[in-house]
């Protein structure tokens, strides 16, 4: 049962980069909706347009044409600062390289989005500590990122993404820099967050990771070639891929 208003709604989104005399269609008419509480994996090989999709969904970039509504608001024509505000209030990012600021302590890193939201120091600290507790790193708040393991750093970045209580958590290859065991832990964590009600969008090239989501959106050459249940075998095996394998 879907509500009338989708949380994320991309309609005929194009992203075109001029490359010399030719235009490259990074996104070639993508339409996509995501509702509250979903766990969606956007999958595709490099060049499929998944990074561009992530940038547009994450309000880091605007589409060349088409509309993108986030929480009912058209964000496709916003300027730099307006986008920054949307990112701050509605989006939580988890990056492959964790992207923690090395000079700041764990707590200060988690506080950053709250700082830019203009929250006062007391509330900021309290919310950041709560987020750290959620990822099980409350005892590490005074540490610097470099004093933590990769898995712990990624959990700090998850706490940072959670601290602002965003509508959407965007995870860009969150396990890419981790060993498989820690990667599984982080994925388990994202599943747990989703089970607790958070909307999670996972961007990955790895089918074995994508299947941990509930729904898979597969991109190829800037188009959606599959959008459906993650358990459906077609979600991970594409016709071309199997043909190639057969050929080889």
């Amino acid at each position: 049962m879907r509500s009338l208003e989708h949380l994320i709604e991309l309609k005929e989104v194009y992203k075109i980069y001029p490359m010399g005399s030719e235009d490259v269609h990074a996104l070639d008419g993508v339409s996509l909706t995501v509702d509250r509480g979903e766990f969606v994996a956007i999958v595709g090989q490099s060049g499929s347009g998944k990074s561009t999709a992530m940038n547009i969904i994450g309000c880091l970039d605007v589409p060349t044409s088409g509309t993108y509504r986030l929480g009912g608001v058209d964000v496709s024509t916003m300027n730099d600062d307006q986008q920054a505000e949307i990112r701050n209030k509605m989006l939580g990012f988890i990056f492959q390289q964790y992207n923690l600021i090395p000079k700041l302590t764990v707590l200060e890193n988690v506080e950053l989005p709250l700082l830019y939201a203009g929250m006062d120091a007391g509330e900021r600290r309290e919310r950041a500590r709560k987020a750290l507790e959620r990822v099980g790193l409350a005892d590490k708040e005074k540490h610097l990122p470099s004093q933590l393991s990769g898995g712990q750093q990624q959990r700090v970045s998850i706490a940072r993404a959670l601290a602002g209580e965003p509508s959407v958590i965007l995870a860009d290859e969150p396990t890419g820099a981790l060993d498989s065991r820690t990667g599984r832990e982080v994925l388990g964590f994202l599943q747990k967050l989703n089970a607790e009600g958070d909307t999670v969008i996972l961007i990955t090239h790895d089918n074995s990771i994508a299947v941990k989501a509930k729904r898979i959106v597969r991109l190829q050459d800037g188009r959606v070639i599959y959008d459906g249940d993650a358990k459906d075998p077609r979600a991970v095996v594409r016709p071309e891929e199997s043909a190639e394998e057969a050929g080889a």
Partner: protein
């Protein structure tokens, strides 16, 4: 993003690279220190001049009258000068001829060859202040009086050195011989310079001016020391005196011949010295300001490097919701903090060096001028300190703006991808 957070971050990033921070600040440190040193030493010198002037009296005007010098005897007489001065009591306080009576006196069997002999009138002494026009005060006895001068009495007032050397500290009523004529000591002046020496400011004899003229064989009084009523009337008094001398010395054709007289006031000299020092200081400060400019460029340079190095951090901050103004503020505050710390260090260094120079060379300077009771105080004014600090912060903000703006405008996607 609040200011205190930006400030803390700035301190943090300065502390993580101390050497770099120091080198970045060095330009500002040197520039500010140079400005502070120049201003301090300038203040010290100005203060010295002021003290000296205070001592001698800023109201003094000197009129040199050399006469026609062409065999004619036309020259202004002391009586004519007195009459002129007396006619303008609102502008002038007094006048004394100043005649050199040569050198050398005899006291008993002792010769004092270097002792200076000067002829003055009773107007040299101002009872209301208790000092002579040169700022000397009387230690004992009395000064030359009207009757002494009019009657050309053989009396004299002597300096402290002479009293000590010739009379073992008790000269009143004793006699010394000037050109074979015995003079009675009626007064002794207080010690003038810290270290008295033969032929110095304390080795002097003052006698009635006509006696001195006789002694040196001069026919005219060629120098008058005149006191203006106040500092404010000096210029007016000087102008009037010039008019008087011009009228007196113009030739038959009414042509004005400057060579026969010359008028100079203490105020002229002070103004001249101050103006010269002012110009010298401005030039020096301008040179020092160039190093501040270079320091500013250094800050801009390092901030540009810093922005490039921290591209990824900027991307992270932007992805978390930092607006352009947040990023801009962070970098401007960082640049401002760097230059403010540099400015602070510069002020400290400048004050220390100025004090060092002041105590090393100040005493020497005072002594070389042969002045006593004058101190050389090389301290900057509070205004100078505040302005230098303000300027250094301003330079940081000004030169930090360009890099900060560059950082603020970075595209978050490119910045995040930056390795």
């Amino acid at each position: 993003m609040n200011v205190t957070q930006s400030f803390r971050l700035a301190i943090k990033s300065l502390r993580t690279s101390k050497m770099r921070a120091f080198l970045t600040m060095l330009g500002i440190i040197i520039g500010v220190a140079a400005v502070i040193i120049i201003i301090s030493l300038g203040n010290g010198l100005t203060g010295m001049v002021e003290q000296q002037v205070e001592k001698v009296g800023v109201n003094q005007i000197y009129a040199y009258t050399w006469g026609m010098g062409d065999g004619t005897t036309k020259n202004v007489t002391p009586e004519e000068m007195y009459a002129f001065i007396d006619a303008h009591p609102d502008l002038f306080d007094g006048i004394t001829p100043w005649v050199s009576g040569g050198q050398g006196i005899r006291c008993g069997s002792e010769e004092y060859e270097k002792t200076g002999i000067y002829g003055v009138s009773e107007a040299m002494y101002r009872p209301e202040t208790g000092t002579t026009l040169d700022g000397d005060t009387l230690a004992r006895g009395r000064y030359l009086q009207y009757v002494d001068v009019v009657n050309r009495q053989n009396v004299c007032v002597i300096g402290a050195y002479l009293e000590q050397e010739a009379f073992r500290g008790d000269a009143l009523g004793r006699t010394l011989s000037l050109g074979g004529i015995p003079y009675t000591v009626v007064g002794v002046l207080k010690q003038n310079s810290e270290t008295m020496s033969e032929g110095g400011g304390d080795d002097r004899v003052y006698i009635p001016y006509e006696n001195a003229m006789q002694l040196s064989g001069s026919r005219f009084v060629s120098l008058y020391q005149i006191t203006a009523a106040s500092r404010d009337t000096v210029m007016e008094a000087q102008a009037l005196l010039l008019d008087f001398l011009q009228t007196f010395y113009q030739d038959e054709a009414g042509e004005h011949i400057y060579d026969y007289y010359y008028v100079q006031s203490m105020l002229d000299q002070v103004n001249q010295i101050n103006a010269m020092m002012g110009i010298a200081m401005m030039v020096l400060i301008a040179i020092a300001a160039i190093s501040l400019l270079v320091g500013g460029i250094g800050i801009m340079n390092i901030m540009l490097v810093s922005v490039t190095e921290r591209t990824r951090e900027i991307g992270i901050r932007k992805s978390l919701g930092a607006k352009r103004k947040d990023i801009r503020r962070q970098f401007i505050i960082e640049a401002g903090t760097t230059s403010a710390l540099g400015g602070f260090a510069g002020i400290l260094l400048g004050c220390l060096v100025a004090m060092g120079i002041g105590s090393l060379f100040g005493g020497m300077l005072v002594q070389s001028l042969g002045a006593s009771g004058i101190t050389f105080n090389a301290t900057p004014t509070l205004g100078a300190v505040l302005v230098s600090f303000g300027v250094s912060v301003g330079i940081g903000v000004l030169f930090g703006y360009l890099p900060a703006n560059k950082a603020a405008k970075l595209n978050p996607i490119d910045a995040l991808r930056y390795e």
